[in-house]
Symmetry: C2
Subunit: 389 residues, 2 copies
Amino acid sequence: MNNFTYYAPTKVFFGKDTHKNVGEIIKKYGYKKIMMQYGKSSIKKNGLYDEIMASLKENEIEVVEMGGVEANPKLSFVRDAVKVAKENRVEMILAVGGGSVLDSSKATACGAKVDFDVWEFSSHKNTPIDALPVGCVLTIAAAGSEMSSSAVITDIDNNMKRGFNSDFNRCKFAICNPEITYTVSKYQTACGIVDIMAHTMERYFINCEPTELTDRIAEGLLKTVVNSGKVLMENPSDYDARANVMWASSLSHNDLTGCGRENALPVHQLEHALSGEFDNVAHGAGLSVLFPAWAKYVYKEKPERFAQFARNVFDIDEKNDIEAAKLGISEMEKFFAFLEMPLSLREFGIGRESIERLSELCTFGKTRSIKTYIDLDFEKVKEIFESCY
Amino acid sequence: MNNFTYYAPTKVFFGKDTHKNVGEIIKKYGYKKIMMQYGKSSIKKNGLYDEIMASLKENEIEVVEMGGVEANPKLSFVRDAVKVAKENRVEMILAVGGGSVLDSSKATACGAKVDFDVWEFSSHKNTPIDALPVGCVLTIAAAGSEMSSSAVITDIDNNMKRGFNSDFNRCKFAICNPEITYTVSKYQTACGIVDIMAHTMERYFINCEPTELTDRIAEGLLKTVVNSGKVLMENPSDYDARANVMWASSLSHNDLTGCGRENALPVHQLEHALSGEFDNVAHGAGLSVLFPAWAKYVYKEKPERFAQFARNVFDIDEKNDIEAAKLGISEMEKFFAFLEMPLSLREFGIGRESIERLSELCTFGKTRSIKTYIDLDFEKVKEIFESCY
């Protein structure tokens, strides 16, 4: 087991009706003036907006609204939000939404404490030294951003989707009511499930010393998510399945499933190039294409690991490691297909002519390779993208 | 899944040599004057004391020492420590030790902020509203106190061992170096393993709605601890096994394995009476006698749950729930016996004449029953103690 630091200070309020306490929770922390970020109109249509506003009003919280966060949240929006946050001297940021709203809010919170451009965090020119506190009402189980240290934003002018990690990106609190996710579409639910699995599997498939406890937790999480995913495709209002997936989303990305292991997220690196370049690619759908492709490209380097995954997550009864590994990846693909997730770049309407560009983006113009069982340089990244047809 | 609040803000520094950074870590938090609590002479003998003092000195941390914390930490010691902490205006408390030193430090930290007697927390007459921050260098994997919200102290004059829970009892940081535990005796290692398992199983065997993810995490943790326990009885210096057990100790009592479930800890209630009354009973050893006894007393109320435990922790291949449940409890006993832990009160030299007194202590003089699958009133508690012969 490698040395590690584990820090997951987010206070999670989980369960039915918890979002109705948002004003009370914020008041207890002592914040009186907040910025609320959210996406498009869905929270106004389904009544969530009104319920949250009622709770904030009842607790005399002043709210500066920043609605309109888009999927793959945009740098330009964050820059505006930073300006508004500073002008209004808000004391915290409440994100009402999913990973995009959260990441936008986190970047805003870091940006509000500095005088330079917020993109300098994403370009790793600067690191946060302070941030406004961020809280959230989660509306979708997916990115795990509610407990993670990462924030990913997109500079649309330069087609760059980049993340930065910092403990200042960890939410102060997260309100997670699985019922709110009943109305999340089948497609978005599936995207979320793939993202949760990817966060867990990326930490699982890494070169390192044995980490038995972390392995068991990761496998248990994956098994649960697969089971719950099967239930949700039939019955999107199954409370326990929604709750399992929502709690798994938080645990998949709060580092619990990576304790004692290296941290690399290679497939996320590939995917960020993809959905950074093509705005019609949802993050989870991109991962659904890329994860099996990556796995097939690397599994022979560590067949025993992929075999363990196959046996403990998909109950594969096969003694030969290479065969078990192949069967495990095949089960993963079958499950993604069952979720009606794409398994090929063609399904996004992306032609082979884009491979060169995607591979360049991914390797920062051939200047870096991505660490994994095999170091993925430009040529190898290209081969993986080519295998996605 | 029940609603729950999850809050585990402790920053964990885990791995080899991490204790040597204690001064640097404390300095980063900005504390300059601390109280250090520790047990008897062992940390002076094995060099840990010197290494910690060197790091504190190097980082110019002023230290007020309170050595001599005993097993089942004593109220009188805590009262003294509160007085010293106030007089010296220490800014934080560093616990160097195991559960006893931690609980003593936590109680001191809460007591230092109030004018009334610290026992009022244990007697539930008052609840903490503030506390000094507590950090620790853990020297034994057992109680999970490094991430838990509980502190248990003993009023020896009145033979009462009582705990209180508060988020103020959660450590700010925990330094966990598995190598430090190489020298923990076989007996104490075994006691720790039983305690870790008990914390997990107490949360597992509770009436409630399905919690698939929490179940899988709990089962994975138990399985890991059983495997690592087997390794450690042969080779006490196996790093990975020590690391698994140490990390399991933290996760077994930071509420992760209880998310979405009720919280009762019935067997701990029974055990607190036992080791509160008999100072020669180590907490883990007491649990080793009482857990199987309790399980045999209640399993018929929920055989499917005990059967699931048997199948997923001990790989029992038996379809009939009652039979599987019995085999699971039997495997638990066999494992405790393998650890050379007691399975009878006789092994402590405690005679049957003590049962009445123990049952009274446990039910606070017949004024309460202990919630579990069956509510345990005085008579039922007596029956469980009687079955421990």
